[in-house]
């Protein structure tokens, strides 16, 4: 059976120059010198920060629309889909029009793994992952973010569909035309 490959031999005895260690020392010093004149790679973090990509997934946050309505309608889909079950929602009826809204919307940021499933599943585009990645906390209670804090983090995102306004208008038209016996215009 033929031998494939060739085994490596041990290096021979060092010569006279090798025995003085001068070539090895010079080689080592050359490596140190090369690192001295190389461009610096360190990012001075608190002063300099990294430019995050557009699709960076940081801490999740709730958003409002242009009319400062809370977009969330407490459908519980994000709570259902959340792999670590970091989201806790309690719903309530709301007076601003059509549907319900969250009374309590807590996200345990220590459970959250920033997977983005909540953003993906949300039918109202009410929850988004921000680019926030520097948050640290001193206790577990402090890291459960309530609704107000999440809304403050999320800010405003415009709602191009304007479903709320459309549904509110439709409801008002139904009420107004109920006496005339007409159906609701679609």
């Amino acid at each position: 059976m033929p031998v494939v490959g060739r085994p490596v031999q041990r290096p021979g005895r060092p010569g006279l120059l090798e025995k003085t260690y001068i070539p090895s020392i010079l080689k080592g010093m050359w490596i140190t010198l090369r690192h001295m004149i190389r461009p610096k790679v360190t990012m001075r973090y608190p002063e300099e920060t990294w430019r995050l990509p557009e699709n960076y997934r940081g801490l999740p946050a709730l958003v409002r629309d242009e009319e400062s309505r809370v977009k969330c309608v407490a459908c519980f889909l994000c709570e259902y889909v959340c792999p670590p079950k970091a989201i806790h929602i309690e719903a309530q009826e709301i007076t601003t029009g059509v549907e319900k809204g969250p009374r309590i919307f807590d996200i345990n940021m220590l459970r959250c793994i920033m997977c983005g499933y909540c953003e993906e599943v949300c039918p109202e585009q009410a929850i988004f992952l921000t680019k926030e990645y520097k948050t640290v906390g001193l206790s577990r209670e402090q890291m459960i973010f309530p609704k107000d804090k999440l809304l403050a983090m999320g800010g405003t995102r415009p709602d191009p569909i304007k479903k709320w306004a459309r549904l509110t208008r439709a409801q008002e038209e139904v009420r107004g035309s109920a006496g005339a016996g007409q159906g609701a215009p679609r």
């Binding site: 801490l59 959250c112 640290v136």
Partner: protein, 187 residues
């Protein structure tokens, strides 16, 4: 005849003198001085148990370079460390070792719980995983993320530095062991 100098001028001269001395002399309290030394030479014990440890290594590497905060000397012996960074999933099997290593660290000592798993169990809501390392050891700083970025860990180390200073101000180097009860389970 006008022997008495004007009092404002005397005060002013005194102030000038004190100001000149302040340029060369700085006074502080011993506790503050010790805390200053401590917080700028934290020696972390890398309790790397899972993927968070990769980010922990990235923090020590040249790009983020935690040596700028004096915390680059990762000590693999708990006897030489004073900051335990629990990075990763703490299983029930590993928990006694984590607890023991924490107990072997000399006082004063601090703990950073890095990432979702160490802080609360994260997505591992299951029987073999400790639901938060603060059930077995007292945690000072929690860092969310899965895993957190190295910047977040640097942020945590800066928070520990602030804690060191604040506790020195409050007159306690670190809380005595009896008072540092682990946080209650839940959530």
């Amino acid at each position: 005849m006008m022997e008495t100098p004007a009092p404002p001028r005397g005060d002013h001269a005194q102030m000038e003198e004190r100001h000149a001395l302040d340029q060369w002399v700085m006074t502080t309290r011993l506790a503050d001085y010790v805390a200053w030394g401590r917080k700028n030479s934290l020696w972390p014990m890398p309790m790397g148990l899972a993927c968070c440890a990769i980010e922990l290594m990235a923090m020590v590497a040249p790009r983020y370079d935690v040596a700028r905060f004096g915390a680059e000397a990762l000590r693999f012996s708990p006897r030489q460390a004073d900051l335990m960074i629990v990075a990763g999933t703490v299983t029930k099997k590993m928990a006694p070792a984590v607890k023991r290593i924490f107990d072997q660290m000399p006082e004063p000592k601090w703990v950073i719980s890095m990432g979702a798993c160490a802080s609360s169990g994260g997505m591992f809501r299951s029987y073999p995983v400790v639901q938060g390392v603060d059930e077995i050891i007292p945690v000072d700083v929690y860092i969310p993320g899965c895993p957190p970025r190295p910047e977040a860990l640097i942020e945590g180390i800066m928070q520990v530095q602030r804690l060191v200073q604040e506790r020195a101000r409050a007159g306690r180097g670190t809380d005595p062991p009896g008072r540092r009860t682990p946080a209650s389970a839940g959530t």
